[in-house]
Each structure stands twice: as C-alpha cells, then as structure tokens.
C-alpha cells in the first residue's frame, strides 16, 4: 500500500443512524446522529486526503461508504511542486527550462516511482510555507529545486 492509500484507510465514516425531526412545514428531516468528521493531524499530506474525503449512504450495503479521490490529491501535490519551481526558480524564463518541461510532461499517475519523492517535497514545501512565495532566494525553495534536479537526473528516461 502506498502512503496516500495508507492515510485514506485511517479515515472512517459515520454510523448510519439518523435523527428524525418534524419540520415547521410538516415534512420530516433526517440528520446523521453522529456525523463523522475526519480530523487533521497537522501533516499537510494527511490534510489533503482529509479535504478529499466524502461519504455517501449506500442503500445496498446499508452503511456510509467513503469516497476519497486520491488521484486528485496527488495532482494537487505535483501542481504545488511545479508552482514552487516556476515561482522560485532563478531562471529568467523557468517554463522554457528542461526541468520544467520534464515536470510538466510527466504522467500525473499516482503510484509511479516518483510519487514518494513528490509527496515528501510537498510536505516540505507546506511545512516551510513556501508554496505561495515567489522569493528566489528562499533557501527552502532552493532546496526543492535542487532535489527536483536530482530527481530528474535519476528518473528521466
């Protein structure tokens, strides 16, 4: 099991017990008795998975089933890394660089050999709070770009 799936498996669902009340217009209202709300642990990757968490009542299994779009969460991770490179690269036109083209051209498929690297980079970016900055001298941003260069060298086909 890969990391994102591991995190997703720790999240639960609500119990299918509903409180029933009569509305003022005479209709009935159904509300989940104890709504399960996944808690964020402080890990930015876990937070992404929590945000992607949804649940719906399955009438066949008679319980709530969770729906977590892992691919979408992974796509956010890669996008964030790309943006840091574009915003913080010392190059005049980063989008013309081979690194950007490599980043931009790679399949956004989760569970590829690069996935653990991107997940770790994303965690580092958010923890160091550089995802929104355009500071080219930020040491953390420089680290990210350096690691990306190394990843390119190692994994570029």
């Amino acid at each position: 099991m890969s990391e994102l799936n591991d995190i997703a498996s720790t999240l639960g669902t609500s119990e299918p017990i509903f409180k029933i009340t009569a509305e003022r217009d005479g209709q009935l209202n159904f509300k989940v008795k104890q709504q399960y709300v996944p808690t964020k642990t402080g890990d930015p990757v876990q937070a992404l998975i929590v945000e992607a968490w949804r649940e719906s009542l399955d009438v066949y299994t008679k319980r709530f089933e969770k729906h977590i779009n892992i691919e979408s969460a992974y796509s956010t991770i890669v996008d964030t890394v790309q943006k840091v490179f574009v915003n913080c690269s010392p190059l005049k036109n980063p989008k013309q660089s081979t690194l950007y083209k490599w980043l931009n051209g790679m399949p956004l498929r989760y569970n590829g050999p690069l996935s653990p690297g991107f997940i770790a980079l994303y965690r580092y970016i958010v923890n160091c709070n550089i995802q929104g900055t355009g500071n080219k001298n930020n040491p953390h941003a420089k680290n990210v770009i350096a690691i990306l260069e190394l990843m390119k060298e190692k994994y570029e086909v």
Partner: protein, 237 residues
Amino acid sequence: MGVFDDDKLGQLDWMSQMTETIDSDLNATLAKLPDRVAITAVDILPTRNSYLSLSVGSILEDYIERVSKNVSLSWEEDNLLQACYAFEVVGDAEIDIKTGVLSGKITLVKLKQTFSDEELQPLMGKKGIAAIGRSSDYGHADAPIDRLNEILEILGGRKEAMNGRSGKKKVAAIKERLVEIFKTNEWRIRDMALSNKVGFWIKGYIDSGNLCNLVNLTKLKVMTHNNMPIYSVKEEV
C-alpha cells in the same frame, strides 16, 4: 319539475342554501382519508428508488388512490389534500439503517377535516378549462369559427373576439372569460363537478358540434338569471 330546476339545491339544508358553500368531491375524499397514519421503518428505509426521504405525498398516495378510485386528481387538488396533513414526531425518533430499527413514534396526522370555500374557489372550473386545450390548436383555417362565436355569445363579455377570423384568438378569449367567470363567481356555480363540466361541454360542442353540449351550457346560462346559487343542471346526454 321545470327544465331549469336545480334538484341538488332543493335537497340542501337551509344553512347550505344560505351560505352557498361549495360542494366538492374533494371534501368527500378528504373525509375518507385516515385521521392518523402510523409511520413504520419500512416507510422510511432507503430503497433503490428513494433515498431516505419521506413526504406527505408518498404516504398519502396509496390512500388517495384507494378512496378516489377512478377519479384522477389534479396537481393542485393533490397539493391541497397533502396540505391537510403533517408529520408528528413523539420522543427522540431515530432510525438505524443497518438494523432497520425505528425508535420513537412518527405519525402522519390530519390537521383539517374540510376545505373552506376560499381554498376551493381557485379550483373551480379548472379541469374543464384545461380540457379545452391549447388555443394554438385552433389556429388552422378549418377552425369552427361559427361555433366558437356561439360560445363567446353565450359566455358574454368578450364581444371583440367575435369580430375576427382567428380560431386561436377566439379560444383564448373563451378560456380567459371562463377564468373570469369562476374567479369572480359571476355565475354563482357552487358545485365543483358542475363547474368543471362547463369546459367539457364547450370542448364537446366546438370539436364535434354536439348539440347536447350546447343545450347544457345554454341551460346553465339561463339559470344564472335566477339569481340563485347553482348546484346542478338537468343534463342532456
């Protein structure tokens, strides 16, 4: 007994005659519906076709079908019946979808036993007017202009519509006039079924030239001059 006698009016008690209450099958339908319906878990549990929702309509549907038998209710009539009911929840009602257990007590309760005239008046004649159909259906060259003019003549109040050759405009004028008649209670028709027949008679005469329909409409119009509420007409069939 005269041709223009209102048999039904004669049978009514003096109070009804005085107050001119509207006689409607909808009141009879409401009276036949249960005062209380206990809701069970089966009514609530989600199925392939429903997702944990319960409306007054869905519970009443079967009962209405049973008591109104072959009579199809209009959307407005259905809504009026549904508005007579509300859910009552006693205790902490909960349903466990997994086990199918419903705790607490839920009942659908009838809040009203009869409809007031104010509620019924807007429904007067509506089914009949709807039966006339779209005025655009009479926009063709073969539209029975003479018959349409005869109807307009009987209904009165839309003289200008009689001048042209447009069947579409004439039918639109007929429908407008009927709406006006029922809205203002101009003809003092106090029977829902009779009010609905007016549109059907008009439709029958326009489309097929059936004179029975014209006679019935004419009788009704003559009866309006008696200055009495009208509950029935001796119909020609």
